[in-house]
Amino acid sequence: MVETLTMVFSLRFSSLSLPPHNTITLYTLPHVPNHRLRSTSNVSPPSSTLLIKHSLCPCAAPTQQQHLLVPEEEEEEEELKCINESPSLENDSLPPGLRRECMPRHVAVIMDGNRRWARLRDLHVGSGYEAGVKSLKTLIELCCKWGIRVLTVFAFSTDNWFRPKVEVEFLMSLFEGGVKDEMGSSLRENIRISVIGDISKLPKSLEELIINVEESTKNNSQFQLIVAVSYSGRYDLVQACQRIAMKVKDGIIELTDVNESLIEQELETNCTDFPYPDLLIRTSGELRISNFMLWQLAYTELFFTQSLWPDFGEADFLEALQSFQQRWRRYGE
């Protein structure tokens, strides 16, 4: 049907050519990339223009503590300390084509396409998930190697509870096995593992395992893997609102204290110093967020690829990072 309609429109508008599916044009960064350090307080229009400090390190989103809006009269360029510095990394650990100063600090991934991958090969759906786990392990290794500090993956959404029971049970046992496998290497490699989502809905053994692995890796600081399980971006905001309501009821805070910073502190991503992904990758060609982190994705660069998740490897990740590094992030300016 799409092809027929395409032909009809081509005939009617013969001088035009239809744009390809998901066209993204990459803009070259200006010579001195803009750097926007986002204030987390309630935003109101300034009475005079606030100039952003320019930096050669443009891309990563700010932490809560950085609030560097300077008045117009201090109009000088300064090199800011790179907010994604990983001092332990060698400069040449990055593949050619990527610039160290423009690496995202926090990457998020919607790992879509496992079932389609299995169906295309006449395999059981479980094989797709198992292949997906391998892709995830590769991605974790690459993030560690290339100095990305946080990786958040959408492993299981609240909507996924509606999948067939057998499939859900398979996934739960896959998670449990995966967490047990990763526990040892995480401790050795200084990787912190956090889980966001409503884990009370998970099998008891998995819930306990998650609490255990979070506790035993909580002091690891080289890299953080955040796994979103039984997670929904809207649920995250509802529970933050709920916590705020209880604090107001108990007199811990006033209603007038409610602002963006407070909500950020109550979201489940308060397990990390860098809650805002710089880059979101979604595989398998679906062009939507599907109720993943909503608040946190306010300024995130979105990269959609046709590759199915089990096929997503180093070359695909490199392509996503190169696309990210060519984006011009203006934050409304």
Binding site: P19, T23, I24, V43, L237, V238, C241, L255, L287
Partner: protein
């Protein structure tokens, strides 16, 4: 032909790049951009899309140069006053207009013009146009959270329980259903703090065309792709209903 979207939202990006590309004076890109708004609205309402939302001015945009902000405010006031006229596009198509955002942040003339336009179109009932000005989604959510919490506290509930529907009804955008498509022009693929809550399941389309150059073919392409994905959206809608019933 497949189902039509009920709500399309636009992030109208690329006006300044368009002006630079054509060597136009500052502000001219936005004036041409307004013509694109008019044509997109016509396409939407002619096709039967009942709800349209446009991201006209973000709270973040206040950080642009004072001259640019002033020029944009003047353009907005001029165009808002145009909406009230009998022959305006909104009256031709029976469109009720809402200005969505933290309107207190606007200068008084613009805010008053917006209020007059909302009043003047209040009786229109065929379609809805939501114009996001002085808007960011995070600001909208903060406001909705404040109002939800205040409502529960006022009812003296010993254990206030906030649900998804409580927050939703306090959103500025509660005047329209969630968008089915968000179209952002100029090739940027990000939401820029626009409809973060409402876009949870919607189809995101980012053509490389600059906003003043958007035309019928881009509009139709977005519709066709929406139709291809529609069965997915239906399923999500049903699942969300279940979640709402479960008290999320």
């Amino acid at each position: 032909m497949g189902p039509l979207p009920n709500h399309i939202a636009f992030i109208m990006d690329g006006n300044r790049r368009y002006a630079k590309k054509l060597n136009l004076i500052d502000g001219a890109g936005h004036k041409v951009g307004f013509l694109a708004v008019t044509s997109m609205l016509k396409f939407c309402y002619e096709l039967g899309v009942r709800n349209v939302t446009i991201y006209a001015f973000s709270i973040d945009n206040f950080k642009r140069s004072p001259e640019e902000v002033q020029s944009l405010m003047e353009l907005m006031q001029e165009k808002i006053e145009g909406l009230i006229k009998d022959e305006s596009i909104v009256n031709c198509y029976g469109v009720r207009v809402y200005f969505v955002g933290n309107l207190k942040l606007l200068s008084e003339p613009v805010r008053l013009a917006a209020e007059r336009a909302m009043l003047a179109t209040a009786k229109n009932s065929k379609a809805v146009l939501s114009i996001c000005v002085a808007y960011t989604s995070t600001n909208e959510i903060v406001n909705a959270v404040e109002e939800s919490v205040e409502e529960k506290i006022e009812h003296h509930e010993s254990e206030p329980l906030i649900k998804l529907v409580d927050i939703e009804k306090h959103m500025y955008m509660a005047v329209a259903p969630d968008p089915d498509i968000i179209i952002r022009t100029s090739g940027e693929a990000r939401l820029s703090n626009f409809l973060l809550w409402q876009s949870a399941f919607c189809y995101l389309y980012s053509p490389s065309v600059l906003w003043p150059e958007i035309g019928l073919r881009h509009f139709l392409w977005a519709i066709l792709n929406f139709q291809r994905h529609h069965s997915y959206l239906n399923k999500k809608g049903e699942q969300l209903q279940h979640l709402l019933q479960d008290g999320f």
